[in-house]
Every structure is written in structure tokens, then in C-alpha cells.
């Protein structure tokens, strides 16, 4: 198995960066493209403007940008719970036996399938318990001009963090997810940090599952 590479040699064992062969970047990228072609699609500009209307509504409602971040994450969480089933049924992605394997599946398959863009994995923690998803293009943020008052406080696309958290919870990984960098704040790229909090080994009874 790939994660045993280096065993017995003097080289440090870096479990976290060696994934099974069916998690190869090229194979996952291909899966993402295929799944994205099979799915129903909506025009990116319409989706971006609709998302922008949602964010604007929350800004009006809550005034405090920090609270808007919380609400966007919460809405995304519910969306992630819903999307997880669809993803498992349609993506063709291999099952993730270790948490770190979810990184490439999210970056290469889920981002392509749902947002139509490529993302990559970066800054994987030595013990595999955290990673970053990095991407340049963000279709949700097309056409957005952030008012100065919000620029340093609002994480405009925070719904994505919630969606990742909800989807991972459906496969028993309790995580915290947050934006670290955002092109809308002048960063060179977008970076979402995903950190494992708890792995559930038993399924909860059906009526407590959500």
C-alpha cells in the first residue's frame, strides 16, 4: 500500500502526503470533469448574482459582518448535508478511509462538480488532521465589488465553508472550516482551511443523524 512507502528506510514516513493510487490527481480530476458533465447546470453568472443577492440580504438583516459570516456558514452547512448524498451517488469518487484523503476529493472532484473550477490541496498537517483547499477562480464572487466597510470583515463566500463542513459531517468527520485568504480581500488566491475535530466511528441513530 502506498502509505507504507519508505518503511524500513531511514527516510521519515510521511503518511499524509502519500495517497492510494486511485486518489491520484489526474484520476480525480477526470472524475470531477465527468461528474460535472453529467449534472444539470445553471449559468454561472445567474448563480453568482443570486448568491450575491443572498449575501446582500443578510448584510441588511444582520448589519454585523461577523454575524453574516456565521449565517452564511450555517446556510452552507445545511446545503452540505443535502449535497453529500448527491455527491456520493454521482461523483464516482473512491471512499475515503482516512481523513486526509477527503482533501483531494474535495479539491479535485467536488469543486469541479459543483463550482466548475479547479482547486488544489496545500499545507497538509504532518499528522493529516488538517489541510487547505486553494483556488484562484471563485464563481460565487464574480462581479462582486466589496464596500470598504465590509472588505476586512466579511468572508463573502463563507457558504462554501459551511457546505464542506456539512458534507464531511455526513461521512462522520466533524470539522471546523474557515477562509484564510480571499481574492476579494486582495489576496493572491483563495484558501479554505479544513481541520478535523472528531471522527465518529458509529452512526448516530437515524432520528439524531441531522
Amino acid at each position: 500500500m502506498a502509505q507504507d512507502a519508505g518503511r524500513g528506510s531511514g527516510a521519515p514516513r510521511r503518511k499524509v502526503s502519500t495517497l492510494p493510487a486511485n486518489f491520484s490527481g489526474a484520476a480525480l480530476t477526470r472524475l470531477g470533469e465527468q461528474a460535472s458533465q453529467r449534472a444539470e447546470q445553471v449559468n454561472g453568472e445567474l448563480a453568482a448574482l443570486t448568491y450575491g443577492a443572498l449575501v446582500r440580504q443578510l448584510v441588511v438583516d444582520y448589519e454585523d459582518p461577523g454575524e453574516v459570516n456565521v449565517q452564511l456558514e450555517r446556510l452552507g452547512y445545511n446545503i452540505g448535508l443535502r449535497l453529500a448524498d448527491d455527491f456520493l451517488a454521482r461523483s464516482g469518487a473512491p471512499p475515503c478511509r482516512r481523513f486526509v484523503e477527503t482533501s483531494e476529493v474535495i479539491a479535485r472532484v467536488a469543486f469541479r462538480m459543483y463550482l466548475g473550477v479547479s482547486a488544489r490541496v496545500a499545507s497538509v498537517a504532518e499528522d493529516g488532521s488538517a489541510y487547505s483547499v486553494v483556488f484562484e477562480e471563485n464563481p460565487l464572487a464574480d462581479f462582486v465589488e466589496m464596500p470598504t466597510a465590509l472588505r476586512d470583515q466579511l468572508w463573502f463566500s463563507n457558504l462554501l465553508c459551511g457546505a464542506i463542513r456539512g458534507a464531511l459531517e455526513m461521512v462522520q468527520y466533524v470539522v471546523s472550516v474557515s477562509f484564510v485568504r480571499d481574492v476579494l480581500r486582495g489576496d493572491a488566491y483563495n484558501e479554505i482551511r479544513v481541520a478535523l475535530r472528531e471522527q465518529r466511528y458509529e452512526r448516530a441513530p437515524p432520528d439524531e443523524e441531522l
Copy 2:
């Protein structure tokens, strides 16, 4: 020209239903498919769930379903103003010289391009000043279960009416647009009625244009 068909015969002249050759259904359907393939796409399920979150937020904010309809239409109007430029630049649709010509362009090109579904034109008024856009599939309303209290009052997809009104206003047609039938209310299909209120022949000065 096509609209002169029937001249001199005893048959009634039905200007409104005879469109120029480049407005043929097949030609416009092809345009819609091509434009939809060129555009950036977002997964339909993610778009539907995001739109659902927006509607739910407005229901919480405004309580009165009638007011939610108004707000959705207003948000859609702003989106329509933005989309019109994109549509004119990318659709390849022929310019509409008469109001009635906008019907086929909206149903066959715009619906395919932005929502990924086919729509058709129905119930064109004899004088060409009103028409219906009819469609079965509505990607915005996937996964929606309407609470009974809202079912007969909320027009869930009213954003679409606003978007049509905004886009037509950008090409000098002031219209009123409303849902007449909605599958979510138990109707067999969705029907949006578009009625011309005023045609502007002069462009407003740039600073008054929006």
C-alpha cells in the same frame, strides 16, 4: 417577409404569430444550446439550494408572502439589468424589432442559456402585446417542498419575473411580468405572463438609464 404571408387572401393576417425566418424555433434553440455550452456553469443542485436559502431568508424577514413575492421580483429585476448586457454579447440572438419577437428569444435562448431548460411560447395576444412563457422543468424549484401556509400565496420563483422585466427594460420594453401557473402549486406546468406597458423609442441620458 414572413409577416406578409396571407396578404391578399381571405385568411386573417396574423402578424403576431409569424416571425422572421431567423426567429425559427429550431434556429433559436440551437443558439441557446451553443451559448449555454460556452458559458461558465454551476451545478444545478447547488444553485437550487442557494436560491432556496435566499427565499427562506426573505420569508423569515418579511413574514407576509405577498411581500416576499415583491422582494424576489425586485432582486430579479436587478439581476435582469445585469444579465441583459451579457445576453446581448454572448447569445448571438437576432435583434428584436417588434416586442412579440422577444417571446421566442426568451423562451428558447435565454431559458436554455441561464437555466439549462427549454421553454415555449403560448397564448400570444392578437396584437402581439403580451405572451406567455411556458415550461415544465424549473431548476430553481428542485428539492422544494412548500409549507401549506405558503403554497397558495408565495410565487417561489418570482425572481425569474423580475429578471425578465429587468432584461427587457434594457432593450427599451417596459413590461409587467407575473407567474400565472406554478408546478409547486399543483399546476401541470409553469407559466409566466409578459405584458408590454410601454415601448421607449429614445434612449434616456446615460445617467438616467438605470
